[in-house]
């Protein structure tokens, strides 16, 4: 039953992966004139809200040399009409193509593309001294391609792999069955902190994904105004969640670091695939946290810190970073976010659907004696030795 669900989920996610893949190759990120915000609402056609192009073009004659044009615009109206090349009926794509096509003609005026800095008397924000930073276009090209399509492929890919794994392996059961007796695993503070961090993370991920994908996925459904409200709520919540998330990973670090230092056992555990495969009959020995859990721990600590650092950078634009720092910070933020979402999907899978007996550890705080013995043999023995729990005769089969 569970395996069938895994199979169906895998098929769905593989299909979604395929759709994103097709989109990746068909995507074209070219901005064309739309005369208003796309998607209805506030249209702003030039025919209604601007003078006609010819009038404006004639008016430009007033900006010629003073000796040619007179002392001020009011002095005299522009002389004759000039020849303009404007067509009202051009298709948006053609219009942009015709704009771009002019580079040959103007090449004598064009300079090599480079970052130019100077200084200005106007001090409204810390980067006003930069005249141009052409790299903004590179950042745009990155932001609108790799995270967007790569992120979709990665997230659906992880889900598909998990679905396939479930279909192949089924739920990892407790080999000896439930003993009906539990042993303590996580205290109240540890569990409360886990759920605070988890709630914050899930909301951060969802609100972040709204900012990343909302424009293409939700906006067409909701319309610009409703989506705008949703996105501004998401952006607000996303930054406010900084507090519980940061607190959560700090407490987690302090509480669990001593169980998560790498050891030789981890290598052994990894080589044996954690005993997850079908044919492996015995789980490799592990203390309180096995190598898989340690990977999640360090992923959360490192990934979480990177997200907090880059997130704070974006919350206070240009406070300590310049253009390079802001662009790099944003890029790292979105890549780290996507990798971490993948990691946490795996973590959620193994903690719930993937393995029998794992979830109570972080919910009630107690796990079944046999689960403890099978998955964390050394920790279990340690508990016995330290007298935290008492042994009992093995369950008769």
């Amino acid at each position: 039953m569970v395996r069938a669900i895994g199979g169906i989920a895998a098929i769905v996610f593989i299909a979604l992966f395929g759709i994103v893949l097709v989109q990746t190759f068909n995507a074209r990120d070219l901005v064309v004139p739309t005369n208003g915000v796309i998607g209805g609402g506030a249209a702003d056609p030039v025919s209604d809200n601007a003078a006609d192009y010819q009038t404006l073009a004639n008016r430009l004659q007033l900006q010629r040399w003073r000796s040619d044009a007179g002392p001020a615009p009011e002095a005299e109206e522009a002389s004759g009409a000039v020849q303009v090349n404007f067509r009202a009926d051009q298709a948006p794509g053609e219009r942009v193509a015709s704009w771009l096509a002019r580079s040959e003609e103007h090449s004598e005026f064009l300079q090599p593309r480079r970052k130019i800095e100077g200084h200005t008397w106007v001090a409204a924000n810390p980067v006003v001294d930069v005249l141009t930073q052409p790299q903004g276009r590179d950042w745009r090209a990155f932001r609108n391609s790799w995270p967007v399509y790569g992120g979709g492929l990665f997230i659906f890919g992880v889900c598909a792999v998990l679905g396939l794994f479930l279909a192949w392996r089924g739920r990892v059961t407790i080999r000896e069955g439930e003993s009906g007796e539990s042993v303590p695993r996580f205290g109240l503070v540890e569990r409360a902190n886990h759920w605070m961090t988890a709630t914050a993370f899930i909301l951060l991920a969802l609100t972040g994904l709204i900012i990343l994908y909302g424009r293409s996925l939700l906006r067409p459904l909701l319309g610009p105004q409703t989506f705008g409200d949703l996105a501004s709520g998401a952006a607000w919540l996303h930054t406010a969640l900084l507090v519980p998330f940061t607190l959560g990973i700090v407490i987690m670090f302090v509480a669990w670091i001593r169980h998560n230092l790498p050891s030789r056992l981890d290598w052994e555990w990894l080589k044996r695939g954690g005993g997850m495969g079908r044919d492996v009959s015995l789980n490799p020995p592990a203390r309180k946290f096995n190598a898989g859990q340690k990977i999640v721990f360090w992923g959360v600590i490192i990934g979480g810190s990177v997200l907090v650092a880059t997130g704070l950078t974006m919350m206070f634009p240009f406070l300590w970073a310049g253009y390079d720092g802001m662009e790099l910070g944003q890029s790292i933020h979105v890549v780290a976010a996507i990798l971490m979402i993948g990691l946490i999907l795996g973590h959620i899978y193994i903690g719930t659907l993937g393995m029998e007996g794992a979830f109570p550890a972080i919910w009630s705080g107690r796990v079944d004696r046999n689960w403890a013995k099978e998955h964390h043999s050394l920790w279990y023995e340690d508990l016995l030795q330290r007298g935290r729990i008492y042994s009992r005769p093995a369950v008769e089969d």
Binding site: A88, R102, V128, G214, G228, A231, T239, M326
Partner: protein, 200 residues
């Protein structure tokens, strides 16, 4: 094909900042924000010093429009890039993408850092009805609807800053270069108007 552009003739700009002030006054731009600023490069180096007045260049294939998560910036058929403040979430992405530092942010929102973006409109207001109170309050005056060109260029005392139909701008500039025999080129045009056609 015709479209609106800005061009600053750096050999004529004297760094008087009248354009910045005129713009701020005309549109009653709130405290802390300037839509147009003058940048001096190579300050003090003989023969190398130039002052260039810069604001939103109303780019072709504008990167700010491409990255905005709520898609609230748009371009019109004249090439003018405009913005709907009702939808903006103040994320700052347009600022990272903009090659010219055009987007401005009032200090508001979470922890006092980012409010709704504001930038040069080419004196063309916003999505609201031309020169209605709503438009004037959010975006300033709409001169384009009145048949006038951006104030910064029209009042430039040295005729350094030019705004209008791109083909004619180049004509005017070309004539000047021929007449006086020198010219450092159209600053920023390579990035603004012929930016790489970024596919993905």
């Amino acid at each position: 094909m015709a479209r609106m552009k800005f061009l600053c003739d750096a050999e004529r700009c004297i760094d008087c900042n009248a354009c910045s002030v005129a713009c701020k006054n005309e549109h009653e731009v709130p405290w802390g924000m300037v839509r147009r600023r003058v940048i001096t490069i190579n300050d003090g180096e003989q023969g190398q010093e130039r002052s260039i007045s810069i604001a939103c260049m109303h780019c072709t294939d504008a990167p700010c429009i491409a990255v905005c998560p709520v898609h609230c910036i748009y371009q019109n058929d004249y090439g003018i890039v405009l913005h709907d403040k009702d939808l903006c979430i103040g994320c700052g992405y347009c600022f990272y993408a903009c090659p010219f530092g055009a987007p401005q942010f009032p200090r508001q929102s979470n922890f006092g850092s980012r409010g709704k973006m504001d930038k040069c409109t080419f004196c063309a207001g916003g999505p609201e009805e031309a020169n209605s109170d709503a438009e004037r309050q959010k975006y300033g005056r709409n001169r384009i609807a009145e048949g006038k060109l951006p104030l910064c260029a029209e009042m430039c005392s040295t005729r350094a800053l030019l705004a209008g139909d791109g083909d004619q701008l180049t004509e005017i500039y070309r004539e000047r270069v021929v007449k006086r025999g020198y010219g450092s080129g159209a600053w920023g045009w390579e990035t603004a108007y012929y930016g790489p056609e970024t596919g993905s």
